[in-house]
């Protein structure tokens, strides 16, 4: 991949990198036909940001030897700490840099960023990258009942009322008004801290649609980067959200770029299952993590991964082949073996090649997935699952899922309200040529729900 940006755009590019640095430590550079995508995820996998620059943004944009299933383009993972300093001082970049060239050369494992500055000075930086599949969070914006579009400065002004150290805020939406207030975990801090609440009238928004009254709580710090970006480009910010606990998406777009930040939100503590043991000293409410999904192949069974709420910050991953027949669910064999790597952080980039069989990078997950297609069984084969170290919480969740799927078993409280973060949708964020699919659904004790979704999945699969 090779692209050239001119002076003005370098500043916008730099701003995007600043915003991404607020989210996570690593930056994924993903050159595609649609444009260059810069992505980042935080370590808890509760925040994801993507800045997509279309080819029009660049003076020149060459993907190099492209084209087949996109497998030829290199996807790089860089450490933000090595890229951010290059774009740190935006005002001096604005003054001095006339052009910037970014190219990725696979053989040498390097991204070359070259600044052509005034007075004939050229600065070349080579940053090592790790080749890694693009990660992305898929979020069905079109399915969200609540949509707000705020003019450029509105949200930025609102967040100035909160101290810079404020971690989380709660956005409440009803059809009469929208309010933002700060959020406190734990009663201890509650008493002595200052509470702030701002109330906005729907008229202040360019577009206001509230289908479901909700209170969503998310991390403000991670959002500030995007708000600063939107303000500097005078772009309105769109907010897509649904009920409490579901992820919220903030996005800005323009002719040549699109930026999205998806944040997980806290669910109510009441929904937590009683059987989940409290292992951490602070009873944090489970945090919903974004689904990390990789694309299945269209024709046969791919797999999708659902990641559940990390109760107590542990994360559970369950891999399930897409084509399902719930009737054949062999619950018993799967349940005990919680196929859940205790340390999920290694299991982030989920990869499939263009072929059928999914290939996963992290070795732990390798063992979880069926190496071959199992078209008609909805089960994680326990032969493939090593007994990894797991915690009781994750076991419970895993087994709850499977129990819910079997119509015979009757579960009482634990599964109530657990949301499957498996997503299924067409078209929303088709990044490459192969269709993405994800499934949005709810697992409750009633197994039928998941069946319905699976059927939908089946019917929609080619």
């Amino acid at each position: 991949m090779d692209c050239v940006l001119d002076g003005n755009c370098v500043k916008a590019f730099g701003k995007a990198i600043h915003a991404l640095s607020r989210i996570g430590d690593e930056l994924w550079l993903d050159p595609m036909v649609r444009g260059l995508a810069l992505r980042s995820v935080n370590s808890a996998h509760s925040a994801y940001a993507c800045f997509l620059f279309s080819p029009l943004f660049f003076q020149q944009y060459n993907l190099g030897s492209v084209s087949e299933e996109g497998n030829e383009t290199i996807k790089c993972k860089l450490v933000i700490k090595s890229v951010l300093p290059l774009f740190r001082c935006l005002s001096s970049i604005e003054r001095n840099v006339k052009r910037c060239q970014i190219s990725i050369s696979a053989p040498c494992d390097r991204v070359m960023i070259r600044f052509f500055c005034r007075h004939g000075i050229t600065k070349t930086h080579n940053v090592r990258f790790q080749e890694s599949e693009a990660l992305q969070a898929v979020f069905a914006s079109h399915l969200c009942p609540n949509v707000l579009k705020a003019p450029a400065r509105l949200l930025g002004d609102m967040v100035t009322h909160f101290p810079v150290s404020q971690e989380e805020i709660t956005l409440s939406m009803t059809s009469l008004r929208v309010s933002l207030r700060n959020y406190f975990e734990g009663a201890k801090d509650h008493i002595k801290t200052m509470h702030t609440e701002i109330s906005l009238h729907p008229e202040e928004f360019d577009y206001f649609q509230v289908g479901v009254d909700s209170d969503i709580t998310f991390c403000l710090k991670e959002l500030r980067g995007l708000l600063a970006f939107a303000e500097s480009h005078c772009l309105p910010v769109s907010v897509h959200s649904s009920a409490t606990g579901r992820p919220v998406c903030f996005s800005v777009e323009d002719m040549v770029l699109e930026a999205t930040v998806v944040l997980a939100t806290l669910i109510d503590s009441e929904i937590r299952g009683p059987s989940q043991p409290t292992e951490t000293p602070v009873p944090t409410t489970p945090r919903w993590i974004l689904l990390q999904q990789f694309q299945p192949d269209c024709s046969t069974s791919g797999s999708f991964v659902a990641r559940f709420a990390s109760c107590h910050r542990e994360e559970c991953v369950v891999c399930v082949p897409r084509c399902v027949h719930a009737a054949t669910l062999p619950v018993g064999s799967c349940e005990a073996r919680s196929n859940i790597p205790h340390d999920i952080t290694a299991v982030t980039e989920l990869v499939t090649s263009s072929q059928d069989s999914p290939i996963i990078n992290p070795p732990a997950l390798m063992q979880l997935l069926p190496q071959t297609d199992i078209p008609n069984e909805f089960c994680v084969p326990d032969a493939a699952c090593p007994s990894t170290s797991t915690t009781p919480a994750s076991t419970v969740i895993c087994s709850l899922l499977f129990r819910a799927l079997s119509s015979d078993e009757d579960d009482d409280s634990c599964a109530a309200g657990l949301n499957v973060l498996a997503c299924y949708s067409d078209g929303e964020e088709t990044m490459e040529d192969y269709p993405r699919s994800f499934l949005l659904g709810e697992v409750t004790q009633d197994a039928l729900h998941i069946l319905t979704f699976c059927d939908v999945a089946q019917s929609r699969s080619k």
């Binding site: 008493i191 200052m194 509470h195 609440e197 109330s199 008229e203 202040e204």
Partner: protein, 285 residues
Amino acid sequence: MKFRGKIVDVACLNHFSRVITTISKLTKMCVLRLTPDNLFFVLSEKVANGGVSMWCELSQANFFDEYQMEGVSPEDNEICLEVTPENLSRALKTVQSAKSVKVKLTKKHCPCLTIAAELPTLSSISRVVTHDVPVDVIPRRLWHEFIEPSVPDFDVSIYLPPLKTMKNVVDRMKNLSNFLVIEANLNGEMNLKIETDLVSVTTHFKDLGNPPWGDDSSQDGGPSQGRDPDSMAEARVDIRRLQQFLMGQQVNPSKAMCNIVHQRILHLILLHEDVSLQYFIPAVA
């Protein structure tokens, strides 16, 4: 106990915020005394503060358009609250452009001073911002700790040089020593001195002028009258306290002066039309 005040004028709001910001730079926590006519920010002398104390008096009529209060009881028509001025300052800073700001004593999760502001917007409905600053109510039996300090029997009283200049000098001196000697005489001369093993630095100020306290009967004008105009009264103080005082000054005072009780106390006074701030720094040996 009830308190309700409303500020409508932008300039008053600005001034009020700046006073509170000044106070927040001086101390982390202080006591707010509310009376029907005035607000007082008081820091009482405690070992924990390093012996400094502060008294700031604001006349409520100069800031609030509406002001209603009901004290603890009809005889003690006052409210005493312990508050963190920084929270108040932060809350006020964000609402500088408000159409109106109401300050109320409320009870939410704990007793709070609620600052509710209406911000102007493009549409007809204003935005409402509410900040709840937690406070602690001080019981009546402790009120005696927060009374107005009496002006000490000073030896010399002198107007201060421009605060900015003084701040620059003190900032530089802070790098060299922890203690500074401030001395002044009745001839309008003041010196700031530091002395270490390696170096001693003195900054001289002249023609500062001395405030005419002498006629005031509450002061004991005697010793000052008979005092040799050239003899210096000095106080050796912790330089950080002095620096803190000078750093926080956001409001340009109409009058700035200090009274020195020889080797005892440095009493700094800043006067404004509607605000007066007194700061006491004890002298160290």
